[in-house]
Amino acid sequence: MQHSKNTNEVDRTRPIALARKAITALVVMALTGILGWTVWTLPPYSDRMQNLVATHLPISGVENPVTAVLLNFRGYDTLLEIGVLLLAAVGVLSLAPTQVVPAETAPQRIQMLLLRLLPFIVIVAAYLLWVGKYAPGGAFQAGAVLAAGGVLLVTSAVRFNQLTIQSIPISLSIGLLTFLAVALATMIGGGNFLQYPLPWASMLILIIEAAATISIAVILTILFLGRKPDGEYPPKTNGG
């Protein structure tokens, strides 16, 4: 556990470092080789799972098989995954630097440009969210695009008004809470956990995805920033 290091020690550790490199290289090469060989020994692939997904797709509420797996067949994984994201946001906030020098606010012109750009970002995100039902897209892609907007905002040091700042905790967790509420409601309604009644499946999935998109966007922005965004200082009335 010695953390101290003087020059002698550095010299002494050189051969050890070399040996370490060699051993690691050998182990990794053996692993790669064995895994590569294993690939050749795999039995011919069966399309059992594709068939299962295909036969159940009409009763999943969506038409894109990947969305069906993510939000319905294996929706429970996605529920926990949104938990992982939220957890990471809490973890990152708890590790936020103790003293922060607030960045300088970007010039007014750039901020105006950004504000003009934002509606387009929101439209793209909304499109991705909606199209996920039929084609590649969905909450994660939409949330990521929205987060790109958030990242632009925080890097140009736009000050958010107090209402926005205060709504952060709720927007962080609304995705997880909505998902859980739907899952538990379906169960209390007499079905299994997360068993959407067929006529509602499509709508429930859209609600979950919409809420998840908001949370994913806010969480990813916070992961990028590494702390809570700056509030208005001094308070303004027309804040973004």
Partner: protein, 102 residues
Amino acid sequence: MTISLLYALVGVVLLGMGLYRLVIDPHLVKKILALNISGAGVFLFLVAVADRTPGFEPDPVPHAMVLTGIVVAVSATAVALGLVGRIREIKGTAEFSENEPE
């Protein structure tokens, strides 16, 4: 050999590269980059190996698994980088000295 198998093998090689640099490189940011490369390798393997027989439509289940994996990876990366910041605040460096156990 199909194209998918090529990608599967590349996935394995990426995993190996990442693991090697992860152990060797003392700089924490590089370690985290290496982990991300390894993760990408595993994801590539996961999808490619399920798609190894030509003529079938791609299987959506590994696709969903990898989407989950990508989100988990970015979460882990964010926490790791947060820790790097904290370690730099305390120790003034973002490297692990090599003579610590393992």
